[in-house]
């Protein structure tokens, strides 16, 4: 065999590692989750109780699925006006100016802040603010964690939308201006229709980020294993219950936590795949 063939074989063999890791993750999660699904069946997904009392053990994922999805969706809703404005600021109103690049650097810095630091800041700054505004007695809850998540996902929501907004051809915008359109009209009649799918895709990918976020949510959501009555009540999320209870878990409880991990993996994979699908349609 000549050296070229050997090199190609080496490259191919190493690329298999990605395949092995991905299938391995799925296989291990399924294997680890098996005892829980055997005990509770598919009802595990819709069962609302989480009772670790010996002898009457009963676990379900609904509370956590509900908490994860509501906090992430609320975070996305809070994030969109901010991210959209910032994208327009950087890629349209102040395109290629010094102030736009400063703003962009600051937004990029947001992506570099570790989750646990967001959690600390949320706990010591945001939470007292929420208490003093009278929104909530202790300041914990779905709303507080959504606020911090909204800040965390801004860089993911803006990076792709900046690009697609900047990519809208100048001729189209100039044509609209020459007909007497104001900038606002150009934004809503020319830029948004042209950049729509890219903007939507970046928000979907940002949602994918929010779903898997752990530490900041754990520190702010209140860790109450009940379905929240309103967005200002406390709840719990999938990532957060795993982080809090994995260390002391064994047997059925451990398997239930792994099953929640499997469900979280599935939800984020579906959301991300959908985001990628929108991007692929774009190009």
């Amino acid at each position: 065999m000549n050296s070229e063939k050997i090199t190609k074989h080496v490259l191919f063999t190493v690329s298999l590692i990605i395949l092995i890791i991905s299938t391995g993750i799925l296989a291990s999660l399924i294997k680890g989750a098996m005892p829980a699904f055997k005990e509770f069946g598919l009802k595990f997904i819709i069962a609302p109780d989480w009772n670790p009392t010996e002898g009457r053990e009963s676990y379900g994922a609904l509370v956590f699925i509900f908490g994860t999805i509501t906090s992430s969706l609320l975070a996305l809703i809070l994030c969109i006006p901010l991210a959209f404005s910032t994208s327009l600021f950087i890629a349209e109103y102040f395109k290629k100016t010094r102030i736009a690049s400063i703003l962009k650097t600051l937004v990029d810095l947001l992506a570099g802040v570790p989750s646990i630091v967001y959690g600390l800041w949320g706990f010591y700054v945001l939470r007292p603010a929420i208490i003093s505004l009278g929104i909530n007695d202790q300041g914990f809850g779905i709303f507080t964690s959504s606020l911090i998540l909204a800040i965390m996902i801004i860089p993911y929501a803006t990076s792709l939308s900046n690009e697609v907004i900047a990519m809208v051809p100048d001729e189209l915008k100039e044509a609209a201006y020459s007909l007497g359109a104001t900038r606002l009209e150009v934004i809503f009649r020319v830029i948004i229709p042209n950049a729509r799918s890219g903007i939507v895709a970046s928000y979907i990918l940002a949602l994918g980020r929010a779903l898997g976020e752990t530490m900041a949510v754990t520190m702010l959501i209140g860790n109450a294993n009940v379905i929240p009555k309103s967005i200002f009540s406390t709840g719990n999320s999938m990532a957060s219950i795993i982080a809090n209870q994995f260390g002391e878990a064994d047997g059925l409880k451990l398997s239930s936590l792994i099953a929640i991990g499997l469900l979280l993996f599935a939800i984020t994979a579906i959301v991300n795949a959908f985001g990628k699908f929108v991007i692929n349609k774009l190009s």
Partner: protein, 303 residues
Amino acid sequence: MISITINRNISPSIKFKDNSNLRKLKNRIFKIIIIILSIITISPIVLILSKLVIKGFRQINIDFFTQVAPDTFEAMMAIASGDVIPGGIANGITGTLLIVIIASVIAIPIGVITGVYLYENQGKKYANLIRNLSDILQGVPSIVLGIIGYLWVVLRVTNGFSAFAGSVALSIMMLPLIVRSTEETMKMVPENIKEAAAALGVPYHKIILRVMIPSSFSGLLTGILLAISRVLGETAPLLLTTLGSSFINLNISKPTSAVPLLIWNFYNDPNMINLIWSSSLFLIGLVLALNLIAKRIIARREK
């Protein structure tokens, strides 16, 4: 006579209402809203950084880098007598370095080689599958990778919590980032350099090692630095794999602390609260420094 009737017929159908003032007003209000919301967007990062600097600065001294974390009692005594809390985060710093270096040693070769493979096999079905799987891996929540580190390494390899388990979890996080950045930078290497090398009869593996990798080196380095800065602050996967330790540990098969884990411990201990700000300041400084270096490399390349 005729022209008058025509005018009467046309004028009701076309309404020339001058609303340009209203449109201009809307335009101006929208711009102001955009500017205000953009300022709100960047205010958290300014507030976070200033909070960390103001509250964390007091604790940063030589001991902070050379001593291990104090226990609750020492911290309590220091607070009672109004002193700065003794000790530092040396066990966290060494642990973070150990865990991240091992993770890099695992992820960099695999990531770069896979990236080269994807670049060399553009458009092939198997390569597309690998690219898609790599994208899926990038979206896997870090806590799930913590579970994987536990199942694969803690239970089977090291028979207990270990730095190595954390490294495996972090390396899976780094891998897709390195694969993607390698493939993208390889695309920027001019085709004719490779052809020139091939024409001289240079073997394929040497074209990769001596031509492609060196000419895209700054791009590769950027991707690697960003991948490292991405995992440096990870806490959740380490909670499930390396557990933490109150001593400096350099044995990869033993529980090890890390800076984010120490922050988590300090947060959960009322006596240690003062230490969270300085540790966070250190961690964020490290992450942002790596980010800035990577950005400088990109900026220099684009010139």
